[in-house]
């Protein structure tokens, strides 16, 4: 399928339309955030429960919460993208008869799962339009980790490796997070000829933004001002539009790599953009098994929803 349109919308609109809902159930209280805002849950509800860290922090209470709300709990490894694709396919098919609209809480999903959701929507054909409401809520501010966690993955996300020959230079578009020097490390590793940075902001008194600036001081100082942009976390459609324009402008002269180190919504947008521009590669940087679990609470006042409508694509003839 291909993207027909995208826009922002309210929880109320998503709730009114959605026939199915998929959430992640992990060790953060934040997993419950979006669900707690929905008064009338849709009939089909699936919680993807992380195989890893299944007994720590808020995980047991999250499982109880989702069970109580009538969710079907499915255990999935944090990198099992094929299983996520298959579950999404099942959910879409089950809800097709009522005009498929899905509410997907991406707040605590891994980037691998984000990639799987978008890849399923991109590659499958369901014969009719599908509306997806990608819901995201940031966490109430917690300080970045002290020290550095090793990375387990620094590589293209499955299904989002572009395979373009190395004729053109690499442009890295990095969504900054607030972990110290993470973006700088990625830049050193990728060695792009051009680096463009996106900084998330939520307006005045945004503590996260201040830490983004402080912990990326070196890479920001080395990046020209016209290659460094702020984006509003509460305006995902506007950000997606700007982001797509930028990528479209670069792709004729560069091999573009998209990598999100910050808020999950920016990561999701990277995958959405790659559906439009297949020569763009989406990478993930993840500490995986080296990460230390931390609890976080959803900041419900800052929940946002990106509504994306998918339409059937004309399948290209790939035979020679």
């Amino acid at each position: 399928m291909k993207i027909k349109s995208f826009d922002e919308c309210s929880i109320a609109e998503a709730q009114k339309c959605a026939q199915a809902m998929i959430v992640a159930c992990g060790y953060e209280q934040r997993s419950r955030g979006i669900t707690s805002l929905v008064e009338m849950l849709p009939p089909i509800k699936t919680a993807l429960c992380f195989e890893e860290f299944s007994t720590i922090l808020a995980r047991p209470s999250n499982e109880s919460f989702f069970r109580q709300k009538g969710f079907t709990l499915e255990t999935v490894g944090s990198n099992q993208s094929q299983k996520v694709q298959s579950l999404l396919d099942g959910v879409i098919r089950a809800s097709l008869s009522n005009g498929s609209a899905l509410l997907l809480d991406i707040s605590t999903m891994t980037r691998s799962w984000h990639g799987a959701l978008v890849r399923q929507l991109r590659t499958a054909e369901y014969g009719s339009e599908i509306t997806t409401f990608f819901a995201y809520t940031p966490s109430v501010f917690i300080h970045p980790r002290a020290g550095f966690a090793s990375n387990e993955f620094v590589a293209p996300v499955e299904g989002f490796a572009a395979l373009t020959t190395p004729e053109y230079p690499v442009a890295a578009i990095i969504g900054l997070g607030y972990e110290k020097e993470e973006a700088l490390g990625l830049q050193q590793l990728l060695d792009p000829s051009l680096t463009i940075l996106f900084k998330p902001t939520a307006g005045q008194n945004d503590r996260y933004y201040k830490h983004v600036l402080a912990n990326n001081r070196e890479i920001l100082a080395r990046t020209p001002e016209d290659c460094s942009f702020d984006y509003r976390l509460d305006s995902p459609a506007e950000t997606l539009s700007n982001f797509a324009s930028l990528v479209n402008g670069l792709r004729s002269t560069h091999r573009v790599v998209l990598a999100s180190l910050g808020p999950k919504m920016f990561g999701l947008m990277s995958f959405l953009i790659a559906t439009q521009f297949p020569e763009v590669s989406v990478w993930r940087v993840s500490s995986g098994v080296h990460g230390q679990p931390r609890d976080s609470v959803a900041d419900l006042k800052r929940a946002t929803i990106l509504k994306v409508v998918w339409q059937p694509s004309e399948r290209l003839a790939h035979s020679r």
Binding site: T123, G159, L163, E167, L184, G185, P224, H318
Partner: protein, 597 residues
């Protein structure tokens, strides 16, 4: 903002060959590469391998000869390559994407390899067409006939007979493959592969050599005596490609030469010395000792600043000043004279470092007035001690031997011309980066020179931190308890610093390590990555010492990290790595160590 200079571009990969030639500083490595024989260019990332390969290309050679070899004598002495070069690029994005095919097709590794082979062949063919176009254009030959033959012999299907059209066609094939991969349509993928010409899946050299043979056959008047296929970044390529190219280095069609880049450790397949001498030349592009790279660095820095400031007489020493670590034979007595910086440092250190005080007294030098009129004594006792004194005085607490780390934020010690050269490791990309950063930080040309030590120190510290950030970014596979490459680098750095600063004073402290049999295999693997990305540097123990395995070889930390860990620019004695790691893990300093010198 980045400075505008042809010397300031970071990575030769993204430079046009003409610009590579304009900023090129010739080295003995280049002379070796020009020889009509197979070459294995060995060295860490950024050491100039890509620059050298690009310098062999037709376009770079033209600029080099016409613009740079302007002196009649140098032009006469220069022998251009007697082979035509096809440069086949690669980079970390391309390698990672090729790698990702194995993850995309976990149940069908053979199909994944076939797709990789197809992609590598297409990439090589695209580069062949570009070179062919350049040759034909220069010789004013119509390319249409050759393009037609190319289309027929690679079964490209309906394609207009232009090389640009051929490239579009080849790129379309990649898109089709990607489409099937994204959909997970393996049957469709295999069908497409089956329809492609067999040379795309045969040996990795089949497609480019076939392309060159077509050229030789149908454009005889322009056919070169030999073709040289230059494969960049083979050190991060798929294993099958590495294996095939190494085998080809030993035995291959005489009409073709291979020039291949590789990491600083000789590939296992090529460890037989006798064969190495006959089949290919291994060109080592790293410098175990600080002075080895100095001539190149000095020439590059001189060109850089003279080009940047349009000042043909400006010299690096004037712009950057002397380094405290400089140990040149020509240093005059004033460097060590009463009241000089080093005299003050020695006097201060002797006041709170008992072992240094004893060292001076043992050499009949007064701790209160550490000077020596006799040149031999000065050289033997003071000049050798200088770097250690500077670092001990800078980092050691005043509480006589207490391990008390001191910040160097206020009193810079890392600055000056020699520090720039040492930190760069003779690596053009690092040297460019440091010079760019220095002038970015400085803003506009200083007057008077030199750039203030505080500014230099800030830039060098940031460069060291950036290097460490790059090392930290490298992924570590394995259990959560496994040490990462960054852990090993930090353990070694902290260990060496503690030995240097807090152990008994020695003019020859521990400065490196050799990898012994007690080091875990996973750590050996990390060190191999560390060598490739330049975290570690191999130190030769004898001339022509080509490391063929990590275990048993001697290494040191990159001098780029010296400001981060407070280390000198000398490859001193080496310790067993397992000992250093154990000591750091236990949080205690080693007393006993094995020497390797």
């Amino acid at each position: 903002m980045r400075v505008a200079s042809i010397y300031s571009a970071f990575n030769a990969r993204w430079l046009e060959p003409e610009d590579v030639a304009r900023s090129f500083v010739a080295t003995t490595h280049f002379e070796s590469l020009l020889r009509t024989q197979n070459s294995l260019l060995m060295g860490p990332r950024g050491c100039g391998k890509t620059t050298l390969l690009k310098m062999l290309t037709r376009r770079a050679q033209k600029t080099w000869i016409e613009e740079r070899l302007t002196n009649e004598k140098t032009a006469q002495d220069y022998r251009p390559p007697d082979f035509e070069v096809i440069y086949i690029a690669s980079d970390i994005r391309w390698s990672s994407e090729l790698d990702s095919l194995s993850d995309a097709l976990p149940a069908s590794p053979k199909v994944a390899e076939l797709v990789q082979r197809c992609l590598v062949s297409i990439s090589a063919l695209i580069e062949c067409t570009k070179t062919f176009e350049e040759i034909l254009e220069e010789k004013d030959i119509d390319p249409t006939e050759l393009a037609k033959k190319f289309i027929v012999h690679f079964a490209l299907g309906p394609t207009l007979p232009f090389f640009a059209e051929i490239r579009v066609r080849l790129r379309d094939w990649i898109e089709v493959l990607q489409g099937h991969l994204v959909r997970g349509d393996q049957a469709g993928l295999e069908k497409v592969l089956a329809a492609h010409h067999s040379s795309l899946f045969a040996h990795s050299l089949s497609a480019p050599t076939k392309a060159c043979s077509i050229f030789d056959e149908f454009v005889r008047t322009a056919a070169p005596a030999r073709w040289a296929l230059c494969f960049d970044e083979i050190e991060i390529a798929p294993k099958w490609l590495q294996d095939e190219l190494f085998r080809a280095l030993r035995s291959f069609d005489q009409r073709f030469l291979l020039k291949i880049t590789w990491s600083p450790i000789l590939p296992e397949a090529l460890t037989f010395t006798q064969e190495r001498q006959h089949d290919f030349e291994a060109i080592q592009m790293w410098h175990g000792h600080v002075n080895d790279a100095r001539p190149f660095c000095k020439e590059f820095a001189t060109r850089y600043i003279q080009d940047k400031f349009r000042s043909p007489a400006l010299m690096p020493r004037e712009v950057f000043g002397n380094s405290l670590f400089s140990q040149e034979e020509s240093e005059g007595s004033e460097v060590y004279g009463r009241g000089s910086a080093i005299w003050l440092a020695m006097q201060r250190l002797a006041g709170h470092d008992e072992s240094f005080r004893r060292y001076l007294e043992d050499h009949n030098i007064s701790p209160d007035n550490p000077t020596a009129l006799d040149v031999a004594v000065r050289d033997k006792s003071l000049r050798k001690a200088k770097p250690v004194v500077i670092l001990r005085e800078a980092y050691r607490g005043k509480n006589n031997g207490q391990r008390q780390r001191r910040s160097r934020k206020n009193a810079p010690i890392f600055f000056g011309e020699d520090v720039i050269y040492a930190m760069s490791e003779g690596n053009p990309r690092l040297l460019r980066g440091i010079l760019n950063d220095l002038f970015d930080e400085e803003g506009k040309p200083s007057s008077p020179w030199p750039i203030a030590p505080e500014v230099q120190s800030r830039v060098f510290n940031a460069a060291a931190e950036r290097t460490l950030a790059g090392i930290r970014a490298y992924p570590t596979k394995g259990s959560p308890q496994k040490k990462s490459l960054a852990d090993i680098v930090e353990s070694v750095g902290n260990y060496l610093h503690d030995e240097l600063v807090f152990s008994e004073f020695s003019v020859d402290p521990v400065g490196g390590f050799f990898v012994d049999g007690d080091v875990a295999p996973s750590a050996v693997q990390d060190i191999s990555v560390g060598l490739l990305i330049g975290a570690f540097v191999h130190v030769k123990t004898k001339d022509n010492d080509l490391p063929s395995s990590i275990v048993g070889s001697r290494f040191r930390l990159s001098y780029m990290l010296s400001p981060r860990f407070g280390l000198p620019f000398r490859a001193n004695r080496a310790i067993r790595l397992s000992t250093a790691l154990k000591v750091q893990s236990a949080g205690q300093r080693a007393i006993n160590f094995l020497e390797d010198r």
